[in-house]
Each structure stands twice: as C-alpha cells, then as structure tokens.
C-alpha cells in the first residue's frame, strides 16, 4: 500500500478575472509515493507543484480524481478523521516554517504528538531526541523569534517527524535559507528521512536538491513526467 497515492487528479481554479471561466492547473495526474523512497517534483513557478502537494496532503481538494492516504480516500472522511490521518501519517515542511510563535522549540515539536493524545513524557523524550539530533539541544526553550531561519526550519523538520509519519511532504523547505543553511537542511532532511525509513514528497525548483531524491518528476503542461528513478518497492 502506498503512503500517498494520487489517482487521476485534476485541479481547476476559478479565474481571477470575470468571464474567463476556469484555469486548469493539474490535468489527470497520477502519482504514487513509494514507502521509504524520496520523490521530488520540479517545475517552473506557477506550474502547480504546491497545489499538487496541498492536494496530496489533504489540505486542498481536487476538482476530479481522488487521493488515497494509506488506502483511505481523503474525500470520504469527516474533519476529525481527516485531521487524525494528517496528524498520524503525514508530516509537513514548508518554506515558511509555520511554527507557533508562542510555543518554544520543544513545544512546537511536541505539538503533533500532544494533539494525537500521547503522553507528555513520551512526547518530550522523542522531541528532545529529535532536536538534539538536529543540533538544537541548547535551543529547546527558545521561542521561534529567538531562532535563526535555519534553526526554525530544523525545528519544523523535527515537528514533521515527531509522530513518525509514513510520509513527509516538503514544499521548498530550503527556499528561504541562505546557501550554507540550505545545504545543511537539505542533507539533514534527506538523512533523517532515510534513517527513519520515511517517504518524502519534495516540491522544489532547486534541481540539485531534487536530484538527490530517489525519484524526480517534472510538472509541465499540467501533468508529471518522470525525470529520474521510477516506482519500485
């Protein structure tokens, strides 16, 4: 079973201008994320990479087609079940780290596990271990405002991995970082995903980063074309 499977996904948006009808972003896209493999989607700005990732994570709904997460169709779930699925099976990393500003680094990382109803002591233990692995052992009690961009992104990576999800969805995770920090975060993310046996769906325009992944797809003309690798399990 694939952690995430996109089946005949089409996504259309209403045009901003009146009378222009709808704009098609994705047309009949199929994609299976393979367990334990990393998959990158590259493409020009505005090609629909982020939209594809949002649909894959159940954040947005497709106009046509369906998204299966561990075999379960997102569209068949109510808010509670969909949230639960996202909480337990998917980790998100975005260009903007999207940390809770009032929570310190440790609390931000613990948050998904606390939401899942896990014991605080267990959550703390795992969160501290993740933060220490990413070199943030001294920053546990720092608020996001007290962390650098690279540190914030590392906290976001820890948070994404906290609940040991099958798949990590990452949208330009190094897009806001300088070159050194970007390279460090890229390596950390790929190493952690491999060490923990997770799948990764990466959306980026950074080709170097993308081609470090097992599979690379190009999103062009509303659909995906394989650039590297291929589905193997």
């Amino acid at each position: 079973m694939h952690p995430i499977e996109l089946i005949s996904i089409t996504k259309r948006f209403k045009a901003a201008e009146k009378g222009e009808g709808e704009i098609t972003i994705l047309q009949d896209v199929n994609l299976s994320i393979v367990q334990g493999q990393s998959t990158a989607i590259i493409g020009k700005s505005g090609s629909g990479k982020s939209t594809l990732l949002h649909i894959a994570g159940g954040l947005d709904s497709p106009s046509e087609g369906k998204v299966l997460c561990n075999g379960t169709d997102f569209s068949s779930l109510d808010d509670r079940r969909r949230s639960e699925l996202r909480n337990l099976h998917i980790g998100f990393i975005f260009q903007a780290n999207l940390l809770l500003e009032d929570f310190n680094a440790l609390e931000n990382v613990m948050a998904p596990a606390l939401i899942a109803g896990r014991k605080a002591s267990e959550c703390r233990e795992r969160a501290v271990s993740l933060l220490e692995r990413l070199g943030l052992g001294e920053r546990l009690n720092h608020l996001p405002g007290q962390l650098s961009g690279g540190e914030k992104q590392r906290v976001a990576i820890c948070r994404a991995l906290m609940n040991e999800p099958e798949v990590i969805l990452a949208d330009e995770p190094t897009g806001a970082l300088d070159e050194d920090n970007a390279a460090e975060v890229e390596n950390l993310l790929l190493d952690l995903v491999r060490e923990e046996g997770r799948s990764l769906l990466l959306v980026t325009h950074n080709q170097d980063f993308a081609f470090k992944c097992d599979n690379v797809y190009m999103l062009k003309n509303h659909n995906l074309s394989l650039e590297q690798g291929g589905e193997t399990e």
Partner: protein
C-alpha cells in the same frame, strides 16, 4: 483533557492582553453587581426589620368587632412559635413645637415593649432632668426632633386625631423624655412612643388597641401558616402580618428588588455577550495559529475546545474575582456609606445606613449562572467561525 488543548489555552491566557482585559472587565462588572445586590438586599431586610420591630410586629392581632377581645389570645397555645406579645394602642396626632408642625403615629406601649430584639433596632437618649409636673412624657425620634427643632425636656403640643367620629379634636401638652433613633429616618419621623395607659385615654376605641406579636426565629419565614393557625384557633380576632399591614411598603420593596435584579441581570447579559466578542477577536488574531494547528493534525473541535477554554476560564476567573471583590466591598458597606453620608451626600438620608449585611447567595448564584450560561452559548456561537479556517489559508489569503 488533551494536553495540547491545555497547553495552548494556557499560553493564550498568559500572553493575550485581550484576555486579560476581558478578565478585568468581567471582574469590574461583577464586583459592583454583587455589591449592589448585597446593598439592596441587606438594606431592604434592614428596613423590613425596622417596620417589624418598631412599627407593626411580625403579626398583629386586633379585635375589630364587638364581642371579640384580644385578651382571649394566649401565646402559650402556640409553644415555640411566639417570642413576645405586646399590647399596643396607637393613633394619629399632629405635633407642634413653637415654630414647626409634624404628623406622627402615637404608639402607647407597656414597659416590656422594648425587649432585646427591639433594642437591637433602636437607641434612646433619655432626659436626665427629673419630671416635676404631671405632664406626661413622650419619646420622639431624632428626625422629628430635628424637624420640630426641639430637644430633650422641651414641651410639644399634640392635637390628637380622634379614633371615634363622635369625639372632637383634643390638644394635649407633652414633655420630650426621650429621643430615639433607629437609623431609618423615613420610619422614625412617623413614630412617637407614650405610655400605654395614657395612650388608652387618648384613643379609647377598641380598634385602636391590638397585639403586636414577634415570632421566634424559626417561624420568621413561616408567617402565613402561623397566621392561618391563629385564625383557626382564635375566632373573631383579626390577624394580619406586617406586610399585609404595610402593603404599599412591602410591594415597593418587592418591586424595587425585582427591578434591581432585572437591571443587574441585563448588565450581566451585556458582559456575557462581551466575552463572545472577545472570543471572536481572539479567533481573528489567531487565524494563522489555528491554520498551523490544523495543518499538523488538529481537528476543528480541538481548536474550538482550546479557544473556548481560554475565554471561558478568563470569564470564570474574572467572575470569581468580581464576586469576591463585591463581597469584600459589601461587607464593608456600613463604613463606606457612613463615610459617604458624612461627606454630605444628602440622598443617603433616605436610606437606612446602619443595617446588618446579608449576602444574597441565591441572587449571586442566579446572576453568575446567567453570566456563565450566556457566555457559554455566545462563545460557542462565536467559535463556529473556526470551521472556516483551514490550513490552505496559510498559503492563500494570509
């Protein structure tokens, strides 16, 4: 409770100035409300006590018809129910000093009338000069003495309003032996006390003399069943309670009490709706955090629960602080009112300034319950908006 919900709620409460101001506002609304309740209830109970102990008794027994006689009433027939029974003759009189006139109800009372319960309600200042003439003594109130511009030992003329239409108006001269003060000028200025036997010579009609009954504390709240029992036992006697005897005063009290309560309730309703607007504003401020929390897997109900706990905790804590503050102020109303009165606030002279404080727990409970219920409902309605906040908003409208 989910640990994340409690963590998020705690952070909101501690870090949001808006929630702190909500807490302060609720406390500032509740404190005067509770004080006002304590003031109105205590004062009305105080005034009621003045009427009962100095004017009418808990129960009055009269013999308005020929053939009936109040001396037939025996308190021993009602064991444990009756504290004291006093024969009282009363009638109206106009009182004159050298320059002023006042209208009073002259009450003729026996020696034992001012028992311990009544003395708790009144204080006397007696003349130290021994009477040298046969002129009868009278006790008038401080308010009447002030109105007539007289003092202890002075003489006043009374025009007795006859209780029998065949009699004519009769003037008598009396000496002011005592000046009393109950703390409630409105009642004081109506009353004057004379010796019972002398009063009987002034008001000889059978209807002018009746019995004032004070009941034991156990029966103070059971006057109606006691009246029924006396009426069944004592045929031909007229039995009334103090509130039947003072219908307008009693109804004024009830109406005032209800109006005050309704007004306070309306204030509470406004405060409760304010909490809903705080919840709404908090949601508005937290759109980004809510979307992030939903992104990492929180359901909408978890988000609502956390927001509700934040606002409701602040409401409950603000309410409790307000109640405690209100009770503290209420318990010190005596000195506060006296200080205000001494500052020359004239309107306070219409109120009873010296009264026992009673805390109206039931009214406080009803007002608190109303605040909590309306807050609960209005906050829940406000929080329905969180459903529209989805993680995708992080990437679109934010």
């Amino acid at each position: 409770m989910n640990r994340f919900v409690s963590l998020w709620s705690r952070k909101r409460i501690l870090k949001r100035g808006r929630l702190t101001s909500c807490l302060v506002l609720i406390a500032l609304v509740m404190a005067p409300l509770v004080t006002a309740l304590i003031f109105s209830d205590s004062m009305m109970e105080g005034i009621t006590s003045k009427y009962i102990y100095l004017s009418d008794g808990h129960v009055q027994i009269g013999a308005p018809f020929a053939g009936s006689d109040i001396s037939d009433f025996d308190p021993n027939d009602y064991p444990g129910m009756i504290y004291s029974v006093d024969e009282v003759t009363s009638g109206y009189a106009l009182m004159y000093s050298a320059t002023e006139t006042s209208s009073v109800m002259l009450k003729g009372v026996g020696e034992g009338y001012f028992n311990e319960l009544r003395m708790d309600q009144i204080s006397f200042e007696h003349s130290t000069v021994e009477a040298t003439t046969a002129i009868k003594g009278i006790a008038i109130s401080r308010a009447t003495a002030k109105a007539l511009d007289v003092g202890l030992g002075d003489r006043v003329a009374l025009m007795i309003v006859p209780d029998d239409p065949d009699k004519v108006l009769r003037p008598v001269i009396m000496r002011i032996d005592s000046i009393f003060h109950s703390g409630y000028d409105q009642l004081d200025e109506l009353l004057a006390f004379v010796d019972l036997d002398y009063a009987k010579t002034l008001y000889s009609s059978q209807a002018s003399t009746n019995l004032e009954v004070l009941v034991t504390s156990e029966y103070m709240e059971k006057l109606d069943p006691l009246v029924e029992l006396i009426e069944e036992t004592e045929h031909g006697l007229d039995v009334t309670t103090w509130n039947q005897h003072n219908v307008s005063v009693y109804e004024n009290f009830i109406t005032s009490k209800q109006m005050i309560f309704i007004i306070l309730l309306l204030v509470v309703v406004v405060a409760a709706f304010y909490t809903a607007s705080v919840a709404q504003q908090m949601i508005q401020d937290d759109i980004s955090d809510i979307a992030i929390v939903k992104l990492i897997g929180s359901s909408d109900s978890l988000v609502k629960r956390s927001a509700f706990i934040s606002v409701y905790t602040v409401t409950v804590v603000g309410m409790l602080i307000g109640i405690v503050l209100g009770i503290i102020i209420g318990l010190n109303l005596g000195p506060i009112l006296t200080a205000l009165s001494n500052m020359g606030i004239q309107s306070l002279s219409f109120y009873l300034l010296d009264f026992d404080i009673t805390i109206p727990w039931l009214s406080i409970l009803v007002i608190s319950a109303c605040l909590l219920l309306i807050s609960y409902l209005s906050i829940q309605v406000s929080l329905m908006k969180t459903r529209r906040i989805t993680p995708i908003r992080l990437f679109t409208s934010l």
